[in-house]
Amino acid sequence: MQYTLKDLDIDDVGYVSSLIAGDDIRRRLLDMGLVEGTKVKCVLKSPAGDPVAYNIRGAVVAIRNEDSEKILLKLNM
């Protein structure tokens, strides 16, 4: 099964395998350092369960579920 960032539960860790997001979000995610192989950890869910915050390269960044499901993950390096 293909995992996406959205599938991570709190404290789960994954590694970015590719971004299938469109231009707009893609660039933003790349700026945050989300390139292939980047380690991501799910750290916080908002009251509504969306958006969810992830630890990306030392910073905590909130991303909406509709965007995070466009980030494909590997669970191991």
Binding site: I25, R27, D31, L44, P51, G58, A59, V60, A62
Partner: protein
């Protein structure tokens, strides 16, 4: 949330990116950096200016200027908006990039967050690519040390090939080192190496540029990169800057096409370029940063669990809002009492003085009962809530709470097809709607930005919420037992503000389904680490800054308004004063909304500044009746009641104050930010219609209930 005298009101309007020097020898130094790395703190420490600082990304949205003298040399510092990248995805990134590329800065200091160096280096590498004038300032060294992060600054400097200075701007540490480095000349800055096909194309294009472009400060390699990863607007700007039309040159197009044949074009090319930069930053960090304590974020996550969890997130948010408002109401009652006694004592003295020097009666009546009295009202009723609200709000801001509000509320904004960052612009709106409108630049999508701009005035700004507080105190909690007055007042005010927030959601939703239809854009929001606020500094700067600002504005707007009111009230045509003519004209219409002509006229006169609405109402009533000395709100209440006010009038005025045309400064800012008359007019019409509708409905319902 740039709420200072430099960022609110008319000065919030941005003025482009060419800085004028006072002297030929002056040096211009730009401060760049990721959002929320303490850039404004560095700026303030260097310049002694009170550029507002706060713990959330996107606080500085316009270029701020300041000067600094060091070793007999004058430096002009420019604080440019924080950005993650210079790829210009958003308006603030465009401002930052254009200033670095085409502004006349002699040096660019890239301020980095030591606790998150890797992501920050991404911007450093993008900046060193553009021009060879970069200094790296690694700020927040103390915080990093506490979190067990060790950075080898010497090694970082030797790798990057540009000066690297470690600082702790809030304590003033390292800043003289930083200033020393401004005079150094960079010799051999680091070059990001891209994957082979890109690197080959880049070398080819750079060599071509060497023959076509004469001496420029821009790195040719970077121009080459932008010609490959083509950005039409930027390339045409570069063409203008270097004086050579890059677009018309077929040589470049050939290289680009060649690269495309190898599979590197469009998105894939951009991805490859960004990936190379990110991975280079990672490599540099692996060599220079050591993490000795990996558990350092645990405490932050514990606080986050309380402030953003499913069960406690929203209740805690409401509670905090309520508590802030409660302290504001209680505190301002005390200050108001003292101030009004003092100010009306001064009024008596002024009258006595004028009588003593035998000044003509009309003259001193104009000055004292016109100009002075409106001023006194603005100061005694409007100032105290602001002076208390601001330090409290700044406290939450410095702690890093505001981005959590956006995090909590994003889902609701998403349902309205809007952006969660709108919550941040609304927070700014509490201070000043004009500042809130400028703050909308943190929203990338133009459609969502317009929604945020048009609905910003549904948040009561500092000019309006003292109006709400005084009316609540006079009319809504007057029958409550003394001990419960302030608590019930705070609850009512919170409910009122929540109503404004509901209207924001409602109108945002309607806008996104009608005139501003479109897809929701992607959303990323950084949640910064919690930081200990510097309480002493908050109190001093927000009180002094706010007090001076409000006093200045009171003089500028309230004084002439007082003059106009006095003249209108005292110049009669055919036995009726001009004021009466105006208010009688408006009266039938105002009655539909449960108000009277005087009130509506005051709202119209209050167009330049909402602070003066209540003072004008009082002035108008007093000018038609007997003059009384008003020392506290209960006397004021009697005055209003004797002019026909009931609780229905009070609530109607509150609703209308919450929802009517934004003040002139806000509208001017919307015009400037949206560049369109259409959206400006809509921003005035939408809240006004909402106000009309709500007040009208309220009065129909109340009238029906009374008949039944």
């Amino acid at each position: 949330m740039g709420l200072t005298k430099n960022s609110t009101g008319i000065k919030s309007v941005d003025n482009g990116f060419v800085v004028t020097k006072n002297n030929e020898t002056d040096k211009i130094v730009a401060l760049a950096g990721n959002p929320n790395v303490g850039k404004s703190t560095v700026f303030n420490s260097l310049t002694g200016l009170k550029q507002h600082t706060g713990n959330w990304p996107g606080k500085t949205v316009t270029n701020a200027f300041g000067t600094c003298k060091y070793n007999e040399k004058d430096y002009i510092l420019v604080d440019i908006p924080g950005t993650y990248s210079l790829m210009a995805h958003s308006k603030e990134e465009e401002v930052a990039r254009d200033f670095i590329c085409f502004g006349n800065a002699d040096k660019v200091i890239v301020v980095c967050d030591a606790t998150c160096l890797e992501r920050n280096l991404n911007l450093v590498l993008q900046t060193t690519e553009i021009k060879n004038n970069v200094i790296v300032c690694v700020n927040l060294m103390d915080e990093a040390k506490r979190k067990g992060i060790e950075i080898d600054l010497d090694k970082l400097q030797s790798i990057l090939g540009v000066p690297v200075v470690g600082t702790d701007a809030s304590k003033g540490r390292g800043l003289t080192d930083l200033l020393d480095k401004i005079e150094t000349i960079n010799t051999n800055p680091f070059t990001v190496r891209y994957v082979k096909p890109i690197e080959e194309a880049l070398n080819k294009i750079t060599n071509m540029l060497k023959n076509k472009i004469e001496d420029t400060e821009l790195n040719l390699r970077w121009i080459g990169l932008k010609l490959l990863d083509y950005d039409e607007e930027l390339v045409s700007n570069i063409s203008k800057y270097v004086g050579y039309d890059l677009d018309k040159d077929a040589d470049f197009i050939r290289v680009r096409d060649n690269l495309a044949k190898k599979g590197y074009c469009g998105q894939k090319l951009t991805d490859a370029i960004v990936s190379c930069i990110v991975l280079t930053a990672e490599d540099i960090c692996n060599e220079t940063v050591v993490y000795s304590n990996t558990k350092y974020t645990k405490k932050d996550r514990k606080i986050d669990k309380i402030l953003t969890s499913r069960i406690t997130g929203i209740p805690v948010m409401l509670l905090l809002l309520g508590v802030v408002l409660w302290i504001t109401i209680v505190g301002s009652n005390y200050i108001s009492d003292y101030l009004s006694v003092a100010l009306f004592w001064v009024e008596d003295m002024l009258v006595k003085f004028f009588v003593y020097i035998n000044a003509p009666r009309t003259l001193y009546e104009v000055l004292v009962f016109g100009v002075y009295r409106v001023l006194a009202w603005v100061v005694s009723v409007m100032l105290p809530p602001m002076a208390i609200f601001f330090p409290l709000f700044t406290l939450l801001e410095d702690l890093g709470y505001l981005p959590r509000i956006a995090f909590n509320l994003d889902k609701s904004f998403r349902k309205c097809n809007a952006c969660g960052k709108q919550a941040l612009t609304m927070c700014m709106g509490f201070g000043c709607n004009a500042a809130g409108v400028v703050g909308c630049r943190i929203i990338d999508s133009p459609r969502e930005r317009l929604i945020a701009m048009i609905t910003n005035s549904f948040v009561p700004c500092n000019g309006r919420f003292p109006t709400l507080i005084s009316i609540i105190t006079m009319f809504l909690v007057c029958y409550v037992p003394d001990g419960l007055k302030s608590v019930s007042g705070a609850i009512l005010l919170t409910l009122f503000i929540l109503f404004g927030i509901m209207m924001t959601f409602f109108v945002s939703f309607i806008l996104s389904k009608t005139v501003l239809k479109g897809e929701v854009s992607a959303f990323t929001l950084e949640l910064p680490p919690y930081r200990k606020p510097k309480i002493g500094r908050i109190i001093v700067t927000s009180i002094i800054d706010r007090t001076l600002f409000v006093l200045g504005r009171a003089v500028a707007v309230a004084a002439p308004a007082g003059l106009i009111i006095w003249v209108l009230a005292n110049v009669s045509v055919g036995g009726t004063s001009l004021l009466l003519y105006c208010s009688n004209f408006l009266d039938p219409f105002a009655r539909l909304m449960g108000m009277d002509g005087v009130i509506l006229f005051a709202f119209i006169l209050g167009f330049p500044a909402n602070e003066i609405v209540i003072p004008i109402i009082i002035m108008s009533y007093m000018s038609t009746g007997t003059l009384i000395n008003i020392t506290d709100l209960s006397v004021l209440r009697d005055l209003l009641v004797s002019n026909g006010w009931t609780w229905v009038t009070a609530i109607s005025v509150m609703f209308f104050s919450l929802m009517h045309w934004p003040c002139s400064t806000t509208l001017m800012t919307i015009k400037k930010e949206s560049g369109s008359i259409k959206w400006t007019v809509l921003s005035a019409v939408v809240p006004t219609l909402c106000g009309f509708a709500v007040c009208f409905l309220l009065n129909v319902v109340v009238t029906l209930l009374l008949i039944l």
